[in-house]
Amino acid sequence: MSESYVAAIDQGTTSTRCLVFDHQGRLVSLAQQQHTQHFPRPGWVEHDAAEIWRIVRRLLPEALRNGGLDASQIVSLGLTNQRETVVVWDRLTGEPVTPAIVWQDTRTGPLLPRIAAELDATSIHERTGLPLATYFTGPKLRWLLESDEDLRRRAEAGELLLGTMDTWLLWNLTGGVRGGVHSTDVTNASRTMLMNLQTLQWDPELLAVMRVPRAALPEIRPTLGDHGTTTDPVAGIPVRAVIGDQQASLFGQTAFESGEAKCTFGTGAFLLLNTGTQPVASSHGLVTTVAHQIEGEPTVYALEGSVAIAGALVEWCRESLGLIRSPAEIETLATSVDDNGGCFVVPAFAGLYAPHWESRAQGIVAGLTAYITKGHIARAVLEAVALQTQEVLAAMNSDAGLALRSVAVDGGMTSNNLLMQTVADLLDVPVVRPMMAETVALGAAYAAGLAAGYWSDQQVLRRQWHRAAEWSPAMEPARRAEMLERWSRAIELSVAWGRPRARTTDADPAVPPAGLAAAHGRRVEDG
């Protein structure tokens, strides 16, 4: 009898991977490919959902081929994805009708005050656990439906389907125009700003505020459960889990119990703390979100510290600045100097997320002197990732009323030893990496395997967690305090820089990029 496996599709912000795991949770096969990032205007980030589906279609058979596996050996498939990104497509042709607006996109900034005027931010936060920010899906949908009259008419007439990336891929995997499943899971739905965190259903008032017709939205299902069976590109694989990427990595770290946390370093950095079966409201700028829901069991919630820009900053150094040829070289460049030389980089490319939630903040490089080399900038880039993580950890400790004694980390950036050491130094706790850095995919596979009975229970998965590496804090307290103090000043500058200018200079033609977004906001109002 041939061995059986579970597979995961991990549709991330910059790349898509398909991984196959064995019964011990060990990687058996991997296929991955990047997709195109579109930056049509300052602050705008778009993906082509059709390109992403083409990539998924290619990767699933490729991963099977790489491992010498037959589809019949895959007992269950887990789907995990970049969250909040919105896709709108034609129910009949199956084609996307607009570019996918990516979670990092800040075009909805000027729209937020008008949303707040209809339903105040506090009320939105109480219902959804989310601060009113550009990050989430609801405002993006309202922007789309308001910017194009035809789109709104077609959505209301039932011609269009809406969804996050999971919904788009699940629909295509399970048949597309020929009966594809149009559903999402609670973790993804909890990021839309359309779902009530208590009822776990679409909230009629929020739908009204975001102008979203109920009929175009997917059904909300439990994370672990029956999500249909694939028909394309490989038929007959049961999809038993759909889960947002950060919740997936929490699951992959086997942080099943209240009080367990992890931090993933990917495009952004995301610290999640399992808070058990009750949603905990944050008073320090964290997001309350669903960790996972197993069919027939109580929902598990989490507190999340979301940092928009982590790996994306390194990628920017490569793609836009040409400082490095590959992401890994940032470490080589950064180790060419001993410290940051007084230079700090605040990567507020998507405004600032947790704990600040300053949608208008813009990135800055502070402390430039003739002494600064690209090595110092590379160092400041890595420190920016660690310093932002420190901020969300401090907020987490304040909210939870206790201090995390160590941090479990994962994601591609954990291959960066200097970054991991800097995180340990600035957080002042040991940083531990498990023996599977691709914890997002592993978590989706764990969820799918549990739901299919491939693994009997969560304890089995816990025993498969092994420590691969550990970094201990080694920074002098005085040095750490100085770093944190200078960082908070840099954050203030970044927020100040993004503030609209005084009225008298509004007509100045030399407005910074914020002016473009504002101009676009006016165009939306006119429409």
């Binding site: 990687l27 080589t332 291959s415 960066n416 023996m435 850095a437 550990e470 970094w471």
Partner: protein
Amino acid sequence: MSGPVQSVERAAAIVQLLASEEEPLGLAQIAAALSLAKTTAHGLLGTLCDVRFVEKDDAGLYRVGRDLLQIGSTRLDANELRARALNWTDALAARTGAAARVAMFRDGDAVIAHHVFAIGSQHQLLETGRRIPLHATALGKVLLAFDPGAARTVLSGPLPSLTYRTITERSAILRELADIRDAGRAVSVEECEPDLAGIAAPVRDRGGYVVASIGITGSVDDLCDSRHRPHRALEDEVLRAARAVSAEFGHGRTS
């Protein structure tokens, strides 16, 4: 004199020929392909080998030299190597339970580019950046066996004895390296430290050159049978990981 120099033209033709061939070529093939007398081709190849533009393997076949391929390009970045090896080094450690490490040749030593802890034991420190002896470790011997430059560097001086099992004789290490090339993997048993064993295999780039080594280390009892031969299953896992990391560098890819 200002016209073309015939011997330079011919040398260039030889390099072009070798660069266009997948497999190493013999003297007769090269002479025939370029319509040269064998003695002429032999002389040219000898000089090209001296300047390291061409390499001659143990079977007497010629291929383009590593040094020539690396002209104008920079050497492999250790951090790049770690990033590409990450997933498969994890899988190797998870499958064997032993500490898994990746090493590369740097300035006369084998340097640890990546390290994944062994399962279970508590006190482990990251060894990334540490230098280990080339002649007394499985990871190092792989690098020596497949990197003529590394072998030249190390074998030009005395080989320090670290344990009573360390291979210190030049003729013995040359035999050992030939065996490693034949087997496609290296084993060391107590050659560096008492009770410590290692198994390692080469990581190759797109062109087939060995850019690093990957392997496991552990106690002799864990890695070997009673006759100090490595367990076959562990060897297979090391070879599998080496193939997977090589594939990340484009080795063995058809497209």
